[in-house]
């Protein structure tokens, strides 16, 4: 009956619905846009990561009598790290540590590269063990107190170990080098002469054929894959040698053939160039290059579960004795069956194993947050399959990893596969901090003499990332031969430590100035960090403007809602006094009369709230579209939640109406029936 009563005064009902409905719709619009802006701001904030990377090297400027001197020093100190952690909650969200180690896995076939204008594989994958037969001696060993060198042309009879990317090697120019006193004698003892069979351990293998192709492609401006050496012509055009002083030019430097450019001309090739066709250059260096015990860093656990440099641990200094720096297997005459030879010569078997290990060598970076690694933050690297590591995995040190798409393809691996990573130190132990920051995070070559450092650990591949430049060089750059694991999953001590150079600071978006000011207040140079915000500063003003506008709209809509409520109470609810008095005069109880009046008053408010919320949702949806259009690339960040926001706002408005009506009626209902009737 109460509903019917409202319809008996349609004009008043419509006026109420319009007044309350419009105000609720406006309130929902304000609340919805405000909530959307908060959500959008949060999502925008989440989608941008601002990082600050410490500058590796600081220059101390000092006035001298003769001028100004600059001394390099480490830009990171324990005090700075402590200060950064003290800024957490201010401009700094968190200080993330990333540590670096080497590891190998038989499941990996590491990627190699041909550097621009170069011809070598990646150093960690370089080298090989070959059986050669000397064809001719290009340079015989000469007496030299500092060491000895020699060169031969040879046929490669067997490749005992080499990275698969090197392909089939049949012909090679081999250079021998023994850079220590007595080296020449050692080379002479090899008896380098035509027809002699040697087993050699090359520390570097260069594809001369590819080098020649690279030269031709770069000079003629064509793709290296289009270079076809079968097009080489030995019919030199007439007058090709004109202008050259043949008498003073070595024969192997004179034009001997021409590679046609297809336009009637071409590129002259020398005898030396022609010798490169199908040939490799092998460097056989009798020097291990070990600096194992110069200043090996010692680590201890820190309070956060990471590792810090143990400054109190004793450190050994001084170089290794000469014996440790000379290869146990360098070059040696071989006769008979190769397999039998390896069985009886364990040093050579170890040399073969070393090269095999190198073929599966990768860098392993333990991180507290993948997105805080510069390349991921800048967009140079991005996840393309599977997922990144979760907060729980970071915290719990889960044995999961993310590898590059290129490494996965090359190794025939996919998300869900498992790999066993076996850690090792490499050939150097003491110069990592500087090297890692300045030269990038490159895999160190495995050394059989140093060996492995720990048992293999099984990791599950949970995601693949794509790197724009597989071989980018420079500070903090890493190659596609890099595996990311949770920092706390490090399975042995890393090369880097938390007061080292390899850490990144995630800042609150837009807090770069505040960060620099905080640095300055703590006595550190403002410019000791390089900040990257991934483009956040470009939209920061828009985000801030959007939030301010949304807040204002919400404030205005709330004021309008309260104004409508005041009108509703004054012109409708308070006028129910007479009816309340009449009901009581006819015998209605206090609670019964109040309940009936409450329902009667609230019905239009409830209907208005529902209609207003629905209208508000439509308005917010439209507003969100316009907001999204303003942000272009972020439409998904600010849409989709308006029905929920508006329902909540509508419910809040209805609760406000109900409270106001209830309080008004309760206050009114304290009067006697006679007074209520008179008041009406």
């Amino acid at each position: 009956m109460i509903v019917r009563m409202h319809f008996r005064n349609p004009v008043r009902l419509i006026a109420l619905l319009l007044l309350l409905g419009a105000s609720v719709a406006f309130f929902c619009l304000g609340a919805g846009v405000w909530a959307s802006s908060l959500l959008a701001s949060r999502r925008i904030d989440e989608s941008f990561v601002t990082i600050a990377l410490p500058k590796a090297i600081e220059l101390d400027r000092e006035e001298q009598e003769w001028g100004v001197s600059y001394t390099e020093r480490d830009g990171i100190s324990p005090e700075l790290v402590s200060a950064l952690e003290g800024m957490t909650g201010g401009p700094v969200k968190r200080v993330y540590r990333q540590s670096f180690i080497n590891a190998c896995s038989p499941a990996f076939t590491a990627l190699t590269r041909i550097p621009q204008g170069g011809y070598s594989t990646e150093s960690a994958q370089d080298g090989g063990v070959f059986v050669i037969e000397i064809e001719s001696v290009a340079k015989a060993p000469e007496d030299d107190p500092e060491g000895g060198g020699a060169a031969v042309r040879a046929n490669v009879l067997e490749t005992l170990a080499a990275h698969p990317d090197l392909g089939a090697i049949t012909k090679a120019n081999v250079t021998f080098d023994c850079p220590f006193p007595g080296g020449a004698e050692k080379l002479k003892a090899l008896g380098l002469e035509s027809g002699r069979r040697l087993i050699i351990r090359a520390v570097a293998v260069s594809n001369m054929d590819l080098f020649l192709k690279n030269n031709i492609s770069s000079i003629l401006g064509i793709d290296v894959n289009e270079v076809d050496l079968s097009k080489i012509s030995f019919d030199l055009p007439e007058g090709a040698l004109d202008g050259m002083i043949a008498a003073h030019t070595p024969e192997d430097r004179l034009p001997a053939a021409i590679y046609p450019d297809g336009k009637g001309g071409g590129l002259y090739l020398t005898r030396s160039d022609l010798d490169s066709i199908g040939a490799y250059e092998l460097i056989v260096l009798d020097y291990y290059g070990l600096y194992c015990n110069q200043q090996a860093p010692q680590f201890k656990p820190d309070e956060n579960g990471g590792l810090i440099l143990d400054t109190e641990a004793p450190m050994t200094t001084g170089r290794s004795p000469l014996a440790d720096r000379v290869l146990p297997a360098f070059a040696e005459e071989i006769t008979g069956d190769t397999e039998e030879f390896l069985k009886t010569h364990p040093d050579w078997a170890e040399a073969v194993r070393e090269i095999e290990v190198r073929a599966g060598s990768v860098s392993v970076i333990g991180t507290d947050r993948l997105e805080a690694v510069y390349a991921f933050q800048s967009g140079e690297a991005r996840m393309i399959q599977g997922r990144s590591m979760t907060a729980d995995e970071y915290a719990g040190g889960a044995k999961v990893c993310v590898i590059s798409e290129a490494l996965a393809q090359k190794s025939g691996l996919a998300v869900g596969d498992a790999v066993e990573l076996k850690p090792y130190w490499g050939t150097v132990k003491d110069i990592f901090r500087a090297d890692l920051s300045l030269t990038g995070l490159r895999t160190q070559p495995y050394s059989g003499a140093v060996g492995f450092d720990g048992e293999p650990v099984r990791f599950e591949i949970i995601g693949l990332y794509r790197l724009d430049d597989l071989w980018k060089e420079g500070q903090y750059a890493f190659t596609a031969n890099t595996v990311f694991v949770p920092g706390s999953a490090q399975f042995r001590e890393p090369f880097t430590c938390n007061d080292g150079l390899f850490l990144s600071v995630v800042l609150e978006n837009g807090a770069e100035d505040e960060f620099r000011k905080a640095l300055s207040e703590r006595g550190f140079p403002e410019n000791s960090f390089v900040c990257f915000d991934g483009g956040y500063s470009g939209i920061a003003k828009s985000v801030s403007g959007m939030a301010l506008g949304a807040r204002r709209l919400f404030a205005i809509s709330t004021a309008v809602l309260f104004a409508a409520l005041a009108v509703y109470i004054a012109l409708f609810v308070s006028r129910r006094a007479k009816e309340l008095g009449l009901m009581r005069s006819l015998g209605a109880s206090d609670s019964g009369s109040l309940g009936r009046a409450f329902i009667f008053c609230l019905l239009p408010a409830a209907a208005s709230s529902v209609l207003g919320a629905a209208s508000g949702a439509a308005l917010v949806s439209e507003a969100e579209k316009r907001l999204s259009a303003g942000f272009g690339a972020l439409p998904e960040a600010v849409s989709g939640s308006s029905p929920a926001f508006c329902a909540a706002a509508g419910a809040a408005a209805l609760a406000l109406f109900a409270a106001a009506v209830g309080i008004t009626l309760l206050l009114m209902g304290r009067a006697s029936p006679a007074k209520l009737i008179k008041r009406g």
């Binding site: 009563m5 005069s585 209605a588 006679a674």
Partner: protein, 221 residues
């Protein structure tokens, strides 16, 4: 025993200028089947006394007993629902209820079934001269006389022993007023209910079994 007995009723209220003794030590008795008139000048306290007797106000002092039971706050609702009802000068019908719904309302409060309530309400409306064509009309669609008849029908339909009427003919023409007074008189005499009418109309006072005259909040001897 008197149906209603009021003893030394007082009701004062304050205005900005003074304290008004609207009812000041009034005592009276009303018998079952009596038709009483309460007269006096404007401001003499008639309507206030009626409100006190009808349970619409609570006296500041004094007491009212009905059928020997004292009217206290806790029984007022039941008193208004089952024992006493009021006819107001300005009709006071619920504006958004039809004539029939207005008449049914007090009956529904008495927990009567809807069917019973409808039957009684319709019968009473016809008795006051409003036939079925009026039942579904809203008060605003009736004339003043018709509204007053509807209001009387609502009061009488409740079947209470005590009926208080506050100038029920004040807004009616003499002919209609006469009909209303006849109706009230017959209700008191035929149905043995007690009717107290507040009025300025001397013809009503003449028709009453007893007349109370008020002046300055007191009943004149």
């Amino acid at each position: 025993m008197a149906l209603l007995k009021a003893e030394e009723l007082c009701y004062h209220y304050r205005t900005k200028a003074q304290t008004v003794r609207a009812v000041d030590g009034v005592s009276l008795e009303l018998e079952r089947g009596g038709f009483y008139a309460l007269t006096g000048r404007s401001g003499s306290g008639k309507s206030t006394l009626l409100s006190l007797l009808a349970g619409l106000e609570t006296p500041m002092s004094g007491r009212i007993t009905v059928n020997g039971i004292e009217l206290k706050r806790d029984v007022l609702t039941l008193y208004r629902r089952n024992t006493a009802s009021v006819i107001f000068q300005s009709f006071n019908l619920f504006p958004l209820m039809t004539v029939k719904e207005n008449c049914m309302y007090p009956l529904l409060l008495q927990k009567r079934s809807e069917r019973d309530a409808e039957r009684i309400a319709c019968g009473m409306l016809e008795k006051v001269g409003l036939d079925g064509t009026y039942f579904k009309r809203l008060p605003a669609q009736l004339s003043g006389g018709e509204q007053q008849r509807a209001a009387i029908a609502r009061t009488l339909a409740a079947g209470t022993e005590l009926v208080f009427a506050d100038e029920p003919t004040g807004n009616l023409d003499p002919k209609t007023g006469g009909q209303i007074i006849s109706l009230l008189r017959s209700v008191s005499h035929d149905e043995k209910r007690c009717v107290l009418v507040v009025t300025h109309d001397l013809s009503i006072a003449d028709a009453a079994d007893a007349v109370f005259r008020m002046s300055g909040g007191r009943l004149e001897e």
